[in-house]
């Protein structure tokens, strides 16, 4: 089932939690709402579920208006951040709950409930825990039971609020791959909320980057990472070096350097911010033909596949981060305190918009 979100506004007192949100989630897609805490992503998810009411705007499920539809009739599955399992019920009863509370006419028989609950517990690979109580499970197990419980009512839409937020790093990684596989199996339209960009980039078909109640960018993981639409997205997705300068006739002037950039040929001496990813900072021992800053190696972190280097520019003492492959790092044989040249590539500029 597709979801369409039209002109949603939500205020809490004077705080504008959501500011004219428009979003389409096609059937079967797995979408991540990504943003820092307080950006409105959870509020949006709860409005889709019907747990919260929008002040203005409408929600359409499969083209029909569901704005005033009761939570119980929206056919959504919701997985809460802290799982919200019923602590006094066994795992089996937790999963069976959605079936047992149905009116007698539509309630499945006891045998059918048993069959379906066990099928779901097998799907989440936890059938052997059916008789346990939620407090006796690990975080990852609780998360999967919460998912099984949400799926038991055969929802048309699955909504997950920070599904891996409370888990440790290793479990989180396993679970998000598992969720991705599960989604590929079931093809249920899913929206999940996260503040972890790595998680969103790895799991989602599409990412909706949110900030302060607004949508900053909607796109595939590749798009939002490679072509961020705003300075916020640039800073939020991955590490980035930020330079302040001016743009004039197709060149970015950062202090003493004039760097080539795409477009902006007509721009006339406008203040701007320039962004360069750490892996787009070339570190050289000799000054090349391209413009470069001279800098000193402050700190080297050679753990993992990439070597992270913190450099300090000699002209204004600002810090620049660079990432090198291990091969390149060996070639250069850099030492702490050495003087080098750094050459930014793929510079992306955003003109300062006068407020």
């Amino acid at each position: 089932m597709s979801i369409a979100i039209r002109n949603i506004h939500k205020r809490f007192g004077k705080f504008h939690a959501l500011n004219n949100i428009n979003l389409d989630v096609p059937t079967g897609e797995l979408v991540a709402l990504l943003g820092p805490s307080g950006c409105g992503k959870t509020t949006l998810l709860r409005i889709i579920a019907g747990l919260e009411a929008a002040d203005e705007g409408s929600i359409l499920f499969h083209g029909s208006d569901a704005t005033s539809r009761d939570v119980r009739e929206r056919e959504v599955g919701f997985v809460f951040q802290h799982y919200a399992l019923f602590r006094h019920m066994t795992v089996f009863e937790n999963v069976a709950f959605g079936l047992r509370v149905r009116p007698r006419k539509t309630r499945p028989s006891e045998a059918e409930i048993h069959r379906r609950v066990h099928a779901l517990l097998e799907l989440v690979q936890l059938d052997w825990l059916a008789g346990r109580y939620p407090p006796q499970l690990s975080g990852g197990q609780r998360q999967r039971i919460a998912l099984a419980r949400a799926l038991a009512v055969e929802p048309k839409v699955l909504l997950l609020d920070e599904p891996f937020g409370a888990l440790d790093a290793k479990v989180r990684k396993d679970l998000r791959r598992w969720l991705r596989r599960l989604h590929d199996e079931l093809h249920i339209t899913s929206v999940f909320v996260t503040h972890d960009q790595e998680e969103a980039l790895e799991v989602a078909d599409r990412i909706v980057v949110m900030n302060q109640g607004n949508i900053e960018q909607i796109g595939s993981p590749q798009e939002v990472y490679d072509k961020p639409a705003s300075p916020f997205v640039y800073k939020f997705l991955g590490n980035v070096n930020q330079f302040h300068g001016r743009v004039h006739a197709g060149k970015a002037h950062i202090d003493t350097l004039a760097l080539d950039i795409d477009g902006h040929h007509e721009t006339d001496n406008t203040p701007a911010h320039a962004f360069v990813r750490p892996h787009d900072i070339e570190v050289l021992r000799e000054r090349g033909t391209q413009p470069a800053f001279s800098a000193v190696v402050n700190y080297i972190n050679a753990i993992g596949p990439l070597v992270r280097i913190e450099l300090q520019r000699q002209d204004n003492q600002s810090i620049v981060e660079a990432e090198l492959t291990r091969e390149r790092f060996r070639e250069l044989a850099l030492q702490q305190g050495e003087a080098v040249y750094i050459q930014p590539r793929n510079v992306r500029v955003f003109l300062d918009v006068p407020n």
Partner: protein, 298 residues
Amino acid sequence: MSSTVSNLGHYQAKVARSRATSEPAWIRWSLIAIALAFLSLFLFIPLAAVFTEALRKGFETYIAALVEPDALSAIKLTVIAAVISVPLNLVFGVAAAWAIAKFDFKGKSVLITLIDLPFAVSPVIAGLIYVLIFGLQGWFGEWLIDHDYKVIFAIPGIVLATVFVTFPFVARELIPLMQAQGKEEEEAALVLGASGWQILWRVTLPNIKWGLLYGVILTNARAMGEFGAVSVVSGHIRGLTNTMPLHVEILYNEYNYAAAFAVASLLAFLALVTLALKTFIEWQSARSARTNEQSSEE
């Protein structure tokens, strides 16, 4: 499971008593001595006195004082007051705690303050309020007389006063508990399609059962032991509007010490049963909380 729990408790006790974190022996022993002396003076000696005085003139006199018609009627009235006020305040307490803990609405803090009112106000004033409203010279006095209803100096007044003074116990017990539990489980049930009643019976009540029972026991203890408010509205008519605490007072004023202490011993016994139940409930809820915590650490 239970053996692991007790082992854990044992282990923690050992850690707690390690030398680095404990006070010198003389401080520990003098604190214990002070506490014991205080408890004996104010609790154990009076409690023992009640039972010795009650039995001073022999067991037969003791029983006679309890089965005497006026005493029986007082016991009956006390039970009636408790049987009516406990369920009323149970329903009200759950409803109020549910509203306060799970919803946001205007005037919430006013409601919380109102619930606390019976704690803040002297019980005598509580009784007086009902006399002013329903008494002969009160707002509804004439209307009540015209229609031949008796509230003040009758059982309805006693029940009203009892309900008033026991009003906060259940709600006060449940509000912090329900606030701590949050509303995620209720929301989960809602999304899964449960109706309001189903959520109450299947999700909310099972989660608060120990706190609720605790509140009910406190309410009951207060309902049976209330003196001030009931004294004002009762009129002290022997065999008709005397509750147990009032009956004790009357007997005592008549220098009938043995009988007074005999009835008082019943109230004291009730207090002991209440304490035992309360301890049991605290033990039970602590045990379930500990099982939860311990197993979640696996």
